[in-house]
């Protein structure tokens, strides 16, 4: 692994709370953002999901590099932030980011999808360090995230943030609408949904995706999903008393 660039190190955010620092901190053996294409290139065999993989790359990087308070050392800490990848197909960017941050060795990447590899075309939480849920079947992550937020709250853990990433087409699943409506009504402030919008939903959403969340009482920000600063600003926007959704727009699938 190459050393952190000074830019990446400067970008890190330290969140006061229960002692879990954001990112890995300067001097850790993480890789910079510029290493991700090479890491993704080590994975072959799931080309059909290429657009799904690259659509999430920038948003995942900004989350893991600057926002989430979780690292390999704290991956089992009950006070860590949780990131749930609901859109489990096309996980190459996710694996690349986790490898760059040291959750598992980059040497695992070339085995992607193989019988002896822990890295499948859909991630399995029991096989991959740092992976919070096994996913791939659409529409499970947001309900699981609601339960995770409720479970942390019931244990008095008000600090950890719960993040779940879904795709715009995944939002078609009815289970997501059950979760979206409930979370808004219940005011689950520690719940955050990141929607990667690459215009892949078959029928789209009249009024836009943000309107669905707004109608359910969420705080919502729509941003350019390739603009790291805009993503960071959206991820860290205050949203007292409400769950927060970030709609990250990227180039349309197939464009």
């Amino acid at each position: 692994m190459t050393n952190l660039t000074t830019t990446a190190a400067r970008d890190r955010t330290t969140v006061p709370g229960d002692g879990v620092p954001a990112g890995r901190g300067p001097g850790a053996d993480g890789a910079p953002f510029t290493e991700l294409p090479r890491l993704m290139g080590l994975m072959t065999g799931d080309e059909k999901h290429g657009p799904a993989a690259t659509s999430t790359l920038d948003a995942l990087w900004v989350l893991y590099d600057r926002v989430l308070r979780v690292s390999p050392a704290t991956a089992g800490d009950p006070g860590r932030d949780r990131f749930l990848l609901s859109k489990g197909h096309g996980p190459m960017a996710y694996y690349a980011v986790l490898a760059a941050k040291g959750f598992f060795p980059a040497a695992w990447l070339p085995g992607f999808g193989g019988y002896d590899s822990p890295l499948g075309h859909h991630p399995d939480r029991l096989l991959v360090p740092g992976v919070e849920i096994g996913s791939g079947s659409l529409g499970h992550g947001l309900p699981l995230a609601v339960g995770t937020a409720l479970g942390l709250r019931a244990q008095g853990r008000t600090e950890p943030a719960v993040w779940v990433l879904i795709g715009d087409a995944e939002l078609d699943e009815g289970s997501n609408h059950e979760a979206l409506a409930y979370a808004g009504a219940a005011g689950l402030e520690r719940l955050h949904t990141l929607v990667i919008d690459n215009s892949s939903a078959t029928h789209g959403w009249r009024g836009g995706i943000a309107s669905r969340f707004e109608a359910a009482g969420w705080s919502v920000t729509t941003v350019d999903g390739r603009d790291h600063q805009a993503l960071h600003d959206a991820f860290t926007a205050p949203h007292p008393g409400r769950p927060h959704a970030v709609i990250a727009r990227v180039e349309p699938k197939g464009a």
Binding site: H140, P143, L144, S175, E178, A179
Partner: protein, 302 residues
């Protein structure tokens, strides 16, 4: 006598006081029984509204944070409608929880087939590692619910019903009980089927085993009972889909010649309303129907 569902609410409300790890999730069904518990523990008694997929997903999420979720609604909506959530949000995530159903196969016959779930346990049988309790009396329901809540991170299904036997038995959350011994065959009565089975086998020279925990299946008890009988002729009487447990019984007896008869609810939709007794008779699960099938099967041994 209260019903199994009423017992569920009272026992579980008490357990919430004792065990901070427990949390109850409801979907607008059974909320009245938990009204007081919800006031005392608003973070651990959650009603998600009429959202059954979310009900299961929330349970999986609670378990991911280390809590032990107890989820309740009618069997049709708990197991059948969100079945993929049950499969993935518990088993695939490697976490556990307790599903507690009501409604059973025809607890509300005049409600019709939309509220009947005779296939719930056959469906769960496609998944690995679920413990299944089928109490036959509210007292047994209380005992089995306590076992389920205390079962670490196990995946447990508790099937409650308004069908019940007149008297409770002492159940342990694991094995079958031997209630009668005979030589001509073995009859396993599951949960609420016991009273009818005892009436149906009156005077027959058969062993009667009582099963309130059907998964894992008590193979040792069946093997012992079948070994004591002259032949391994086994009848299983279940209050859900006929034949659900014949695979388990067959595995228990795979090293010896045996015959199996699975009695239970028929696969064909009856399309009748009415009363529970009328449905029991229609499926041959009343004492008379059971006696004909059991006596014929045991006598038919050559």
């Amino acid at each position: 006598m209260d019903t199994m569902r009423e017992r569920f609410a009272s026992v579980t409300s008490g357990l919430l006081e004792e065990d901070p790890r427990l949390a109850v999730v409801l979907a607008d069904i059974g909320t009245a029984g938990f009204a007081e518990a919800a006031q005392r523990h608003p973070d651990r008694v959650v009603n998600v509204g009429i959202r059954e997929q979310l009900l299961i997903g929330v349970g999986g999420g609670l378990a991911l944070t280390g809590l032990r979720p107890i989820l309740h609604t009618f069997a049709s909506f708990l197991v059948e409608r969100p079945f993929e959530q049950v499969k993935l949000d518990f088993g695939h995530q490697g976490v556990g929880g307790v599903l507690v159903s009501a409604g059973a196969s025809y607890d509300w016959p005049s409600g019709g087939f939309t509220h009947m779930a005779p296939g719930d346990i056959a469906l769960l049988d496609t998944l690995d590692g679920w413990t299944v309790h089928v109490p036959g009396h509210p007292d047994e329901a209380g005992t089995l619910l306590r076992h389920a809540a205390a079962a670490g991170d196990d995946k447990v299904y508790v099937r409650l019903s308004v069908q019940a036997n007149a008297a409770p038995r002492t159940v342990d959350g694991a094995g079958f009980l031997t209630l009668r011994e005979g030589r001509a065959g073995v009859v396993i009565a599951v949960g609420p089927m016991l009273d009818n089975v005892l009436a149906a086998t009156e005077g027959l020279d058969v062993t009667v085993l009582y099963a309130t925990t059907v998964r894992p299946f008590d193979a040792a008890a069946l093997r012992a009972a079948a070994g004591a009988a002259e032949a391994a002729d086994v009848v299983i009487v279940e209050p859900y889909l006929a034949g659900t447990s014949t695979r388990s019984a067959g595995e228990a007896l795979e090293d010896r010649p045996h015959r199996l008869l699975g009695l239970g609810v028929g696969r064909q939709e009856l399309r009748r309303y009415g009363q529970i007794d009328e449905h029991l008779a229609a499926h041959g699960l009343d004492p008379q129907g059971l006696r004909e099938r059991i006596a014929g099967f045991v006598r038919g041994r050559s």
